[in-house]
């Protein structure tokens, strides 16, 4: 279980201080796939990077806790954190090819991780790397070992990154938009691969995406983020059946669905800029059920049910 509590992150930008995350709460249950959904710029990647403690130096964590293995990751020394990264928590990034170093063959980072965290060297490490590459469905892993990133397609690079993430059997994998940069046909293969590996190893996964189809396909629990807050959090089945937050409803309505006669409906307006955050609830300028109170007061998480939280003053009303 990985738990993020009240995580608040701010960025220095010249004289200003921009708050990117406003008290994010997140529970990533062991052995389950937890989705983190939202539009670009809502703070999904910042959350993941904060968990890994890999935020840009311009960012700083104002308050909050990240509890893992009974410890607060934010309280660990950089040295201790190096034993968590890659070994206990691994991350898969948005752009697979850019995550691989262009001057080394793709086996280099694998062997590096195996040596660093599992103490394997020489032929043992090479053998293990090769079997990992085979495990993620790369054909002719021996040839792939020697290939440079630019010899491989995007999908193959992402398979290498998945192998790299799994190399040390981490407790948690943070997958940041693992399929977004890939062709649609390749996306499906990667999703199938991730699903298979998740079941096989009982992995705990945080899946960051803006693709609700992918969430429906993979996730057990879903957290919807908007403007640096988790606005709704529920088991996937519940969220898709009865979304409560008007933003979640908007997201659901904006989906293209097969067999549906109704056209998808876009949410009017767009995500507010960090510099011009509206007062009160950040969603109220775009919200169909907003009232005066919404502009004055930022709602706190409200329990709809066990395991279902919503940040909205009026979630009980206007429900379809």
């Amino acid at each position: 279980m990985l738990e993020v509590r009240d995580l608040t992150v701010a960025f220095r930008s010249g004289r200003d201080r921009l708050t990117a995350l406003h008290g994010v709460d997140l529970r990533i249950a062991s052995g389950r796939v937890t989705g983190l959904v939202g539009e670009s710029g809502c703070g999904k990647t910042v959350t993941a990077l904060a968990i890994m403690r890999l935020l840009d130096p311009a960012a700083h964590i104002v308050r909050g806790q990240i509890l893992f293995d009974g410890r607060d990751l934010l309280a660990l020394s950089e040295r201790q954190m190096e034993h968590v990264r890659g070994r206990r928590i691994a991350m898969i990034f948005l752009q697979p090819r850019a995550s691989l170093n262009p001057v080394f063959p793709v086996s280099a980072p694998l062997i590096d991780v195996l040596r660093r965290h599992r103490g394997l060297t020489g032929p043992a490490a090479r053998l293990e790397a090769e079997s990992l590459l085979a495990r993620v469905g790369l054909p002719r892993p021996r040839d792939v070992m020697r290939a440079y990133p630019h010899h491989l397609s995007g999908g193959m690079c992402q398979r290498v990154m998945i192998a790299l993430a799994l190399a040390c059997r981490p407790a948690v994998v943070l997958a940041d938009e693992p399929t977004t940069a890939l062709d649609v046909t390749i996306q499906l293969q990667i999703i199938e691969l991730l699903k298979g590996l998740q079941r096989e190893f009982g992995l705990t996964v945080l899946l960051i995406t803006h693709d609700l189809g992918l969430v429906a396909e993979m996730c057990d629990d879903v957290n919807v983020m908007y403007a640096g807050r988790v606005v709704e959090s529920a088991p996937a089945a519940v969220l898709f059946r009865r979304p409560r937050h008007p933003y979640t409803r908007g997201l659901m309505a904006s989906r293209v669905r097969r067999g549906s006669r109704t056209l998808p409906v876009a949410i009017p307006g767009r995500v507010p800029d960090l510099r011009e955050m509206p007062p009160g609830c950040p969603f109220h300028p775009r919200c169909p059920i907003a009232r005066e109170r919404c502009a004055a007061e930022d709602p706190l998480p409200d329990a709809v049910d066990t395991g279902h939280f919503v940040r909205c003053h009026f979630w009980a009303e206007g429900a379809a």
């Binding site: 968590v84 890659g86 990034f93 170093n101 660093r116 630019h150």
Partner: protein
């Protein structure tokens, strides 16, 4: 499943390089010149027909021909032998100076670029000071302050180039440290120093190597220049700059060969290094592997 891995990985680096040589004959010519000069320098003790320092007044200022392939100078020293020994000395100075400048400059640039902040300020402002002087004047100043000797010549030629490497390294690091693979390397549990040394530095080296080749040419020119004005290696030593200096007064008197041959060598080597520098850019591109 697409298979894009078919073409590349089997070919060795060397066969790739030989293709490139064929495609870039001018680079090859430059490399050949340098190789030839290096060989001449290494073989000088065996090949040179005369001792480069033996004075023989009876044979002074003989024109090229006979036993003296390139003639003799004021002291009757054989110019061909001295040119061969000079190849050794000049390459030592050039490579020594480049190696010192490269090590010092890259270290400073890496520290400045990777850690930023006050370290960056201190290093780069010091480099600004170094670069504020015209480089040859600065080299003259340093050489004059340290006194003329082989070691001091290397140090002064190196010092004027430190800033070039520091800047190159810093600029390149500022780019690559933002790369996703840098974050990915940290995410795999690498400590910062390892990210810098193992993951980022190899991505910074191409411009450094290209610059080193160009700088080797310039280093020879600077070293010869310093020796020419009397601040480098001293007069009887077989160094090309010194030899040119010795012959300058004789050129108008008709003894052109005293300055001509060492001067020609300087020009050839500088050209060779420059040609190789241009070709290295392509050769070192990781996309070619």
């Amino acid at each position: 499943m697409r298979l894009a891995a078919d073409a590349g990985p089997r070919r060795s680096v060397w066969s790739g390089a030989s293709d490139l040589w064929r495609a870039h004959p001018i680079t090859l010519a430059g490399a050949a010149v340098i190789a030839l000069v290096a060989l001449a320098g290494m073989a000088a003790p065996v090949v040179a027909p005369f001792d480069p320092l033996t004075v023989n007044p009876a044979e002074a200022l003989r024109p090229p021909g006979g036993p003296h392939l390139m003639g003799t100078d004021d002291f009757g020293q054989d110019i061909w032998s001295r040119v061969l020994w000079g190849a050794r000395l000049d390459l030592e100075i050039a490579l020594g100076a480049v190696a010192v400048a490269l090590l010092a400059g890259c270290t400073l640039g890496a520290v400045a670029g990777f850690w930023g902040g006050w370290a960056d300020e201190v290093v780069m402002r010091s480099m600004d000071i170094l670069q504020a002087f015209p480089s040859f004047i600065l080299a003259m100043g340093i050489a004059a302050a340290l006194g003329p000797s082989f070691r001091n010549l290397v140090v002064s030629v190196a010092l004027i180039n430190v800033a070039v490497y520091a800047r190159l390294m810093r600029a390149r690091l500022l780019v690559v440290k933002q790369a996703l693979y840098a974050t990915a390397a940290r995410g795999a549990g690498n400590p910062p120093w390892r990210v810098l040394l193992v993951h980022l530095l190899p991505n910074c080296l191409t411009p450094i190597f290209v610059q080193s080749s160009l700088q080797s040419g310039w280093a020879i020119l600077t070293a010869a220049g310093l020796s020419f004005v009397g601040l480098g290696v001293r007069i009887p030593e077989p160094e090309w700059g010194v030899m040119v200096a010795m012959g300058v007064a004789r050129v108008t008197a008709g003894s052109w060969w005293v300055s001509f041959y060492p001067g020609l060598c300087i020009a050839l080597v500088v050209m060779g290094f420059n040609l190789v520098g241009d070709g290295l850019q392509d050769l070192l591109d990781p996309q070619r592997r």
